[in-house]
């Protein structure tokens, strides 16, 4: 999966937190790579609306003058010496894989037909 930030949610389908619609949840499920069923999407739509309404209150005190905290005890420039460390053997790395050919992980097609 991509390590980058997910692309934008279509804002036209969301007016506010309580405007979470099944389409928004379906889109988020796609970004999250979870093949949710229609029943799950319906249930989550209601639940997410309620949860978001309750956590929306963070914006009440998050004024521009307050800096954010990403880690509770911030460390910077954590480096180690640039020397080879212990690594897994190929066999160890493949041991838990659903499928492999002895030296590589095996997956199905990366691209679909329309691509």
């Amino acid at each position: 999966m991509s390590e980058s930030r997910p692309e934008s949610v279509d804002r036209t389908s969301v007016d506010h937190v309580n405007g979470i619609t099944p389409d928004v949840v379906r889109h988020l499920a796609g970004l999250s790579r979870i093949a949710l069923t229609d029943d799950e999407i319906e249930k989550l739509t209601g639940e997410l609306g309620v949860i978001l309404a309750s956590i929306d209150k963070v914006s009440e005190v998050a004024t521009p003058d307050v800096p954010g905290t990403s880690h509770p005890i911030l460390l910077t420039n954590v480096f180690r010496a640039d020397v080879p460390g212990e690594t897994l053997t190929t066999a160890q790395a493949l041991a838990g894989a659903p499928d492999h050919d002895g030296s590589r992980f095996r997956v199905t097609a990366i691209l679909g037909e329309e691509q």
Binding site: V9, L88, T108
Partner: protein
């Protein structure tokens, strides 16, 4: 000494008897395996029992017989939360997506346990990927509270807490992202410590929310938690968030605390916002009795205010899902764990989506979707960004509180153990169980949960939480051990000696005397 008695001893006492040659590690380990066999069908604290346990114990006995210098806990059995990677034992984090997965490496804390001669008994149950406060979100069925099998043991580390409370293990490892060590301790009458963020390595702990997660000890006594902390703690080059501090001996702090007669000169701050009217009556009552006991021992009780704690749960449920949605991206059906091929085949992305649909439970899906939303462009600043600002405000609240008090206290959980199923369909109600414990995770400070009595209305355990500034973990062990002694002197026994019998082997005769 009978084998059933061995399971009631503390880890410190077992270590002493092992060192003195009064018992062997094989005997101690066998006693705990027997206890597990007798009660774990009902309690379900364990997901896996270590088949090598007796061999490991025999090897320790051999080392001891050969005159090797061994650590204080060598030969003592320990249970390990299933969130920690263990060579030779499946590590599932309570999820179907990792069912049967045996890691190719040990978590650093596990490697340190093994090096110190402790005997891993097995892996304990937990909410899936540590998302929950009841263990009901485990893909492998809930753990039951040893005090009342119809009730939750807390979560996510309900398995570790139940294992020590049911005398299946003297000590265990847990992990605490928003209270998963301290809240289960509160509702099972056991002890749990969340160390300072960075105080214990997370290498090999299956990550939930990396800016919040911390590994720590679970036990029946403060000293036992300290002994485990001394073994697992300290800098680890494999965890880039690990602190390079030189830590004092926490066992020494606990022993000094147990000896300490007077608390004169200690300022104990009561967080006004965590002594709330919405808490269960018996929780508030026992909390105020504990305060009176501390005051009677010479401590100065001061009220402190933390106005931004009101926003802590909201900030937590933005930060946690955001980080979890990123951390759980690794479960992609390629390198480890489950793979589900959709009907008619598909691309690797279709396989991923089908796998994650089948392999993740409802709560995991809920939080991954919520986190993906909170991180989306256009919402990132409003949600994740705001939550990070709240985090700063909560750190400032703690800084102000610790300028007035050496240690802060609150109830460790707002209620006693609730019934299995009671809050399962109401995610928000479930999230509020951690209202007392979440602030410490957001600020990275250490927190300890320990028993403070039984609620009069339901006879179930209630816990107190102690909090100290970052890096002052030793203060919690010292005060925790003092409070533990004061309470046990008042009761005339330990709290867990009042737990009901579970197994066919009689553990305790009935004891009278209300707590």
């Amino acid at each position: 000494m009978s084998l059933t008695t061995l399971t009631t001893l503390t880890a410190a006492d077992l270590g002493r008897k092992l060192a003195a040659g009064e018992v062997s590690s094989v005997e101690v380990t066998q006693a705990h395996l027997d206890r597990i066999a007798a009660v774990d069908t009902d309690v379900h604290a364990f997901l896996h029992i270590n088949e090598q346990a007796l061999d490991t114990a025999a090897a320790i006995d051999k080392q001891r017989a050969g005159g090797d210098k061994l650590g204080e806990l060598a030969g003592v059995p320990i249970a390990i939360k299933d969130v920690l990677c263990t060579i030779g034992m499946p590590s599932t984090a309570g999820s179907r997506i990792l069912e049967g997965w045996v890691p190719p490496y040990d978590a650093t804390v596990v490697a340190r346990l093994r090096a110190a001669g402790l005997v891993p008994l097995g892996k304990t149950n937990m909410d899936e990927f540590a998302m929950g406060s009841s263990t009901e979100h485990s893909a492998f069925g809930p753990t039951h509270n040893p005090w009342d099998l119809d009730r939750i043991p807390g979560g996510s580390g309900g398995g570790s807490a139940a294992a020590v409370a049911a005398f299946e293990a003297p000590i265990a490892l847990g992990s605490d992202t928003g209270g998963s060590i301290r809240q289960p301790a509160a509702v099972t009458g056991s002890v749990g410590m969340k160390p300072t963020y960075g105080g214990v390595s997370r290498y090999g702990a299956i990550a939930l929310a990396s800016s919040l997660d911390q590994v720590g000890p679970v036990s029946r006594t403060v000293l036992d938690a300290a002994l485990v902390h001394d073994v697992i703690g300290g800098w680890d080059p494999r965890d880039s968030t690990s602190l390079k501090d030189e830590w004092p001996s926490f066992a020494e702090a606990a022993r000094a605390g147990a000896r300490q007669e007077s608390l004169k000169g200690l300022r104990i701050g009561v967080v006004k916002e965590l002594d709330a009217p919405g808490f269960q009556a018996g929780v508030s009552q026992r909390f105020h009795e504990a305060l009176a006991l501390l005051e009677g021992a010479g401590a100065e009780i001061v009220e402190v205010s933390a106005p931004n704690f009101e926003y802590a749960v909201a900030a937590y449920y933005l930060i946690l899902p955001a980080e979890a949605s990123s951390n759980l991206a690794k479960f992609d059906s390629v390198r480890f764990g489950l793979r589900v091929n959709p009907v008619g085949g598909g691309t690797v992305e279709d396989v991923m989506a089908a796998t994650r649909e089948a392999g993740f439970g409802a709560e995991v899906k809920r939080r991954v979707i919520l986190g993906t939303y909170a991180l989306s462009a256009g919402y990132y600043d409003a949600y994740y960004g705001s939550a990070q600002k709240v985090r700063t405000l909560i750190q400032r609240d703690f800084a102000a509180a610790f300028s007035q008090a050496d240690v802060l206290v609150s109830p460790a959980a707002p209620t006693t153990a609730f019934k299995l199923g009671e809050k399962l369909e109401d995610p928000l109600a479930m999230y509020l169980n951690d209202v007392t414990t979440i602030p410490a995770n957001l600020a990275g400070i250490p927190g300890m949960g320990l028993p403070m009595g039984l609620a009069p209305e339901d006879g179930l355990p209630v816990g107190i939480q102690l909090m100290a500034p970052a890096r002052a973990d030793d203060r919690l062990y010292k005060l925790g051990a003092t409070l533990e002694r004061l309470l046990e002197e008042k009761w005339g026994h330990t709290l867990l000696s009042q737990a009901p019998d579970l197994g066919p082997g009689e553990m305790f005769g009935p004891e009278s005397g209300a707590i």
